[in-house]
Symmetry: C2
Subunit: 360 residues, 2 copies
Amino acid sequence: MKIGVFGGGQLAQMLALAGIPLGLRFVFFDPTPDGCAATLGQHIQADFDDWQQLKLFAKSVDLVTFEFENIPLSAIEFVSKYTRVYPEINTLNVKQDRLLEKQLFQRLGIATPKFIDIQSKNDIHDAAETLGFPFVIKTRFGGYDGKGQWVLKSEEQIAYTWSQIDGLPCIAEQWINFSREVSIIAVQNRNNERVFYDLAENGHNRGILHTTVNRPSDPMALEAQKIICKLLEELNYCGAIALELFECNGQLIANEFAPRVHNSGHWTIEGAATSQFENHLRAILNLPLGSTQHKGQYVMLNFISKIPELPHALSVPNSHFHNYTKQAKPGRKLGHLTVCADQHEDIDNLVFRLKNFFHF
Amino acid sequence: MKIGVFGGGQLAQMLALAGIPLGLRFVFFDPTPDGCAATLGQHIQADFDDWQQLKLFAKSVDLVTFEFENIPLSAIEFVSKYTRVYPEINTLNVKQDRLLEKQLFQRLGIATPKFIDIQSKNDIHDAAETLGFPFVIKTRFGGYDGKGQWVLKSEEQIAYTWSQIDGLPCIAEQWINFSREVSIIAVQNRNNERVFYDLAENGHNRGILHTTVNRPSDPMALEAQKIICKLLEELNYCGAIALELFECNGQLIANEFAPRVHNSGHWTIEGAATSQFENHLRAILNLPLGSTQHKGQYVMLNFISKIPELPHALSVPNSHFHNYTKQAKPGRKLGHLTVCADQHEDIDNLVFRLKNFFHF
């Protein structure tokens, strides 16, 4: 069985690492020459509008999935003529536009920060009045890891921000003073069998996910599951899906969802009975899903901009090191470390110790 | 960092699956065209006496290891001129000859079945007298999974066996009425840092390993560790090593060792904090070794001659399926399943249930 993956980065690599033991083989479609997944299968290096290569890709695999959501819908539509694509295009269509995503949350009764469609400089002034300072402007399309976002703190910043936006479609969002950010990952197969992982609690560094810990029996877990179920049902979803939520005064507020395996689920590779990657593959192949039971308390620490050498990384007891072998760039995720907490140590203390150990 | 591996079968594949997340890359040297590891790196398909390709192989990697012990020593010697090879040639030299292996056990005071060097038909008659019936004849070189072995039950079988031996150097071995077969896996790095996994208890089917369970806190574990330490020290060993032992009247009797990752350690992929594969790589790279702590009680079941379809295999709760994608042949290991036991179920009962589920 051959799986086609749009994208050849670390998520594609981790999908392949989970799938190869099952006997699956992989073809990666990625315009960049040096995707780290390429070593694990065939790499078709072509642009998303190279119809000939897209057709070749689609016809060489049994089904197609993706590691990131910003693939042109035209490419997905084209490939769908020759093979099945999961998650399906209806989900991507919503996900690619922050406005549609927020409207979906609203329609499903999922609490989300107040938002306003921004089409003119005047709309920003209106947003300031409605939302109050600070508030956030985000581009509707593209943007990740804090890119394409501006936090406005005063009237004076509106003109500058408007010039930065440079005509891109945007939305303004209410600023949420959250006590923590959590994410819930669910997986659903084509028979609507459904599993959830432990709630993950996330720490960020300059807008980029930095740490995740799994929170077994978190008091908000059931609420998060209820919310993500609304998405699973509405989208008739197939595969792994992550939903990022702010907790604020005991309430969960949806930030955004990701229709794919997610960085906050990397701890599941070693920390759960079945990883998010294997379960995503099981789901799109309509196989029985595996147990999501955690094996303990885990910390996942991202290496951003720089990555330690092997002897340094492996000197941490009970750790699993992942080096994506990517060229270092400021703000780029280069790898991660998953550490299983000793039962005698407080997990938050372990996070603190690890950050210090690696000088973050 | 590039690791060269002699052999491109499932053990090589599992080494690569453990090493790729660490940022390692792999080159496999394997004369056969269809090794399942090939998808995980570069495959040099050449014979073990193709000096040009061997040189190319050696010069393209940082160090070399192997997945099976029957590589011609001449190839290892040749490659050693250009790069380091672990485990080292002194170990392979002993391991490739059952007579030297047994003599090593004897020299180190490791209990082993009585053995006799067989050079003539008369030697077999002498062996019958000394060892009594039944006894075993094994070829000194080659042979695995019960191949190259004859169990002699009576005087009448000597002539036939002698004709089968066909001039191959052999030894005769005392028959051991063991109560169980266990194996111990140790890993030692170049700094002589050393770790051990849980004692594994093995069940066979027609001479081929069929099931393994890890036995946490087994009463014989310390004794097994003491024995394998003698080998580690004598051989100045580097890498993973497995020692198969018979338990007989409360005593451990060494059968054979394998200077490599071992089938009876497959449970460590999901069942131990660090797998035998990752620890073997850490050892040969002289990195700190990882914890060998088990995460529970596991059963590993080999699929021999035939292998179930994905939906069938994955319907087993808490299981991890490994399909080596090899052409099916009678007696060939095609894959395995590792199952974590529910804490309420007796592990031996789980083995029983699994064998029945897959109709073995």
